[in-house]
């Protein structure tokens, strides 16, 4: 499985590359501004470090990277940064000098790519020229110059990048596992590509889907007015039900002789970002006579989510619904004892909702506790003893 996963991931990246091109110019301009400030030396360092860190899938990364990275470098980045850089670059490059020849090859590629872009964006060709000048300072570098801007880009991107993007960058670095010597060259090539894959989310391996089991389809057919969806992922049947028919469907699943889902393994809620509706209640049902499972889902709005309680069907739902109420604020109609269960009764908020921060509520909760405790009168007051 792992192999397929890798392959698909790699494959997914390549097609994304071309689509990303339009975004490049903006990135280039950003990079240019930063470069002027003077971060080239840093850039090279970071690039080399990244190369060092990454060890693994060199082939994939390079393949993916080269077309995209070169393009970016040639297109937007070089124009501005080159002017400021020449002196700095020369110094850094001189130390690196032995490495340059291989760079030249890469640069050539970039130059080739640059030419087509020139047609696309009229602005770019003039930019390319200044870069060449800088390159002239170091004879081989003429080719190199275009490469350097891409280095700057990765840094900028990493700084700006979202957490998810950074992760991708790490992967990309790994591919360029070439020896540290080539650091100056390699980072340039690899650096630009790293950023690009980040922008477009990779196509992820899909969860294995199957046709739902027969009994699930039967249920869906018999209750088509309340069943919203039926699917089977990871070999697990799921019935998505509208909140109105939730309780009756649960009763049907439990009592129907051919179903007999008499054992409630799990009841929980969830609160998501980016889905609509945002809340849901999930039931994992198990049938002891037939030894099979089914999942029932109810989608609920994030505003005051509420649904019928199933504690009358499965008593074990009692505490689990209390926990769902405690953690997610989902209200269960007909529950006899809907109190908080894990958190103290005075707690404010529902921690598993996505708008509740992972950290940082501690101080506030302590304040609340102290306020509450201050209101409670002491039952006995000790009198000071007198020894007269």
């Amino acid at each position: 499985m792992a192999e397929t996963h890798d392959k698909e991931a790699g494959a997914s990246v390549e097609p994304d590359g071309p689509t990303e091109l339009p975004q490049e110019p903006s990135a280039g301009s950003n990079s240019a501004s930063q470069e002027e400030v003077g971060g080239e030396s840093l850039d090279t360092n970071s690039a080399s470090a990244s190369e060092m860190a990454g060890g693994m899938s060199a082939i994939k990364g390079e393949e993916e990277v080269t077309p995209e990275g070169e393009q970016t470098g040639s297109a937007g980045n070089e124009s501005v940064p080159v002017e400021a850089k020449p002196g700095e670059e020369a110094s850094t490059k001189e130390t690196v000098a032995p490495e340059e020849p291989p760079k030249a090859q890469a640069q050539e590629k970039s130059a080739e790519e640059a030419s087509p872009k020139g047609t696309v964006a009229p602005e770019e060709p003039p930019k390319a020229l200044p870069q060449e000048k800088s390159a002239e300072e170091a004879s081989p570098k003429g080719t190199i110059a275009p490469e350097e801007p891409p280095k700057a880009l990765p840094q900028e991107k990493s700084a700006e990048a979202e957490p998810g993007e950074e992760v991708v960058v790490l992967e990309e670095r790994k591919p360029s596992a070439k020896p540290p010597v080539s650091a100056s060259k390699m980072p340039r090539k690899t650096a630009a590509p790293r950023k690009r894959p980040v922008r477009r989310p990779k196509k992820v391996v899909k969860a294995p889907e199957k046709e739902p089991s027969g009994f699930v389809r039967d249920v869906a057919a018999a209750h088509s007015e309340i069943v919203a969806d039926v699917y089977n992922r990871y070999g697990e049947d799921t019935i998505v039900v509208r909140s109105g028919g939730y309780h009756s469907l649960c009763r049907h699943l439990r009592d129907q002789a051919a179903l007999r889902f008499d054992y409630l393994s799990l009841l929980t809620g969830a609160h998501y970002v980016g889905t609509e509706p945002r809340c849901e209640v999930v039931l994992e049902l198990y049938s002891t006579p037939y030894n099979r499972r089914v999942r029932v889902k109810v989608l609920l709005p994030a505003e005051a989510p509420s649904v019928d309680s199933v504690a009358d069907l499965w008593p074990t739902a009692g505490w689990q619904e209390r926990e769902a109420y405690d953690m997610l604020g989902i209200h269960f109609h007909g529950h006899s004892d809907l109190r908080r269960i894990l958190l103290p009764q005075y707690w404010e908020g529902h921690p598993l909702r996505k708008d509740y921060p992972w950290r940082g509520f501690r101080e506030r909760s302590e304040e609340i506790l102290q306020e509450r405790l201050a209101k409670i009168p002491l039952e006995t007051e000790t009198k000071p003893y007198s020894f007269d």
Binding site: M1, D6, D262, T316, W319
Partner: protein, 377 residues
């Protein structure tokens, strides 16, 4: 004090002699920080309510904010008596979600560790449960043997209690040299020790009087209340996920699912004792069949799960332990729900305890075998 401020309270009854008794959270027989509020009539317990959450650490929220692999050590802290069982469930759930394959050798070693975990967990349960009821002798004997199991954990994974002993995709390392010999020495020794325990307790008249007919739960109640593990098997239902929905290599192994019909504390005691015996059988088979090969499969550096959800459950020493994971396609799960058997089983305490004598409450709680790290998460 306004009601509900600190927890649950039961209204005292009308009858004379009704009494509200608070037990815990620092009571040694609650095996952690469980607070039970008992309503009694004389010495009979009429009703009870549990106040939990003293050990709540927000494990589910933590899981939603960490990459899949990085949550593995946190699972040690759920059921800290049987940490490898928690690790196993999590890494298996992740492997299913990420569609990774585990080498054969790793599967066998996982089962070896998982069954050793069952032994260690049941040994601790036996020692403390017997001590709660008054058989102090057994406690040190059980810990003597448990120490040997923990030494095996330490030899393999480097840690004794919170082991972090499995990895997504396989194992952190292969078996060290001499480890299997140590294991076999333990397997040779342990049956005689197990028979010693039987001699001390199984036909002990005091033990029988304290456990027989106490905390009875019927098979129907077990299903209704979602009980699992030795509780449901002690009531006559052979529900064991190792057999019903096999994972790893349990479908290739030959072992029995011990059950008892009575559903009382004594039945659960016999079930657990026999489970230790069956674990020994499984261990011997695994040692005999252990294949060679790699100990970890191919795992991508960055784990990104496809969009979708799954529920993966295994048979932990305490029952059905499962993770419900919902992935939105990112590197971190969007929702993780922990199905903790202790939490579900503890919920049925009022059913088990109703009508019992006050002194039996300790025996009943011990027979549920709760771990508060798992109850409160």
């Amino acid at each position: 004090m306004e009601t509900g401020t600190v927890g649950a309270f039961l209204e005292p009854g009308e009858k004379e002699g009704d009494f509200i008794l608070n037990m815990g959270p620092q009571h040694p027989a609650t095996h952690g920080v469980l607070r039970v509020i008992l309503r009694t009539e004389g010495e009979n317990v009429v009703d009870c309510d549990s106040d939990i959450g003293y050990l709540h650490r927000g494990q589910e929220k933590t899981a939603e904010n960490l990459p899949y692999v990085e949550f593995t050590p946190y699972t040690d802290r759920l059921d800290y008596i049987a940490a490898p069982a928690m690790n196993l469930t999590w890494v298996e759930a992740c492997e299913r979600l990420l569609q990774l394959e585990v080498p054969e050798r790793a599967k066998y070693i996982r089962v070896i560790i998982a069954e050793l975990t069952r032994l260690a967990s049941h040994l601790l349960w036996l020692g403390t449960h017997a001590m709660d009821i008054g058989a102090l002798t057994l406690f040190l004997y059980c810990f003597r043997e448990r120490e040997m199991v923990l030494d095996l954990f330490e030899g393999f994974g480097g840690a004794r209690l919170t082991t972090h002993i499995f990895r997504v995709g396989g194992l952190p390392n292969d078996l060290p040299k001499g480890w299997l010999e140590d294991l076999e020495a333990f397997l040779d020794l342990f049956p005689s020790r197990l028979s010693d325990y039987h001699k001390l307790l199984t036909k002990n008249r005091i033990w029988l009087r304290r456990t027989k007919g106490i905390g009875v739960v019927t098979a129907d109640e077990c299903v209704d209340w979602g009980l699992s593990g030795p509780l449901i098997r002690g009531s006559g239902i052979a529900l064991d996920l190792r057999r019903k929905q096999p994972y790893e290599i349990y479908d290739r192994l030959d072992f029995d699912i011990p059950t008892q019909e009575e559903g009382d504390v004594y039945a659960r005691y016999l079930v657990r004792m026999e489970e230790m015996n069956q674990s020994l059988r499984i261990l011997r088979q695994c040692v005999d069949q252990l294949p060679s090969g790699p100990f970890i499969g191919k795992v991508p550096k960055r784990l990104k799960a496809p969009k979708g959800e799954l529920y993966h459950a295994t048979e932990s020493p305490r029952g059905e332990f499962g993770f419900y994971i919902y992935s939105d396609g990112g590197t971190q799960p969007a929702r993780v729900k922990i199905r903790a058997p202790s939490f579900i089983n503890l919920q049925a305490l009022p059913v088990l305890i109703r009508g019992a004598l006050l002194a039996d409450v300790v025996a009943v709680i011990g027979s549920i075998d709760i771990v508060l790290g798992e109850v409160d998460r």
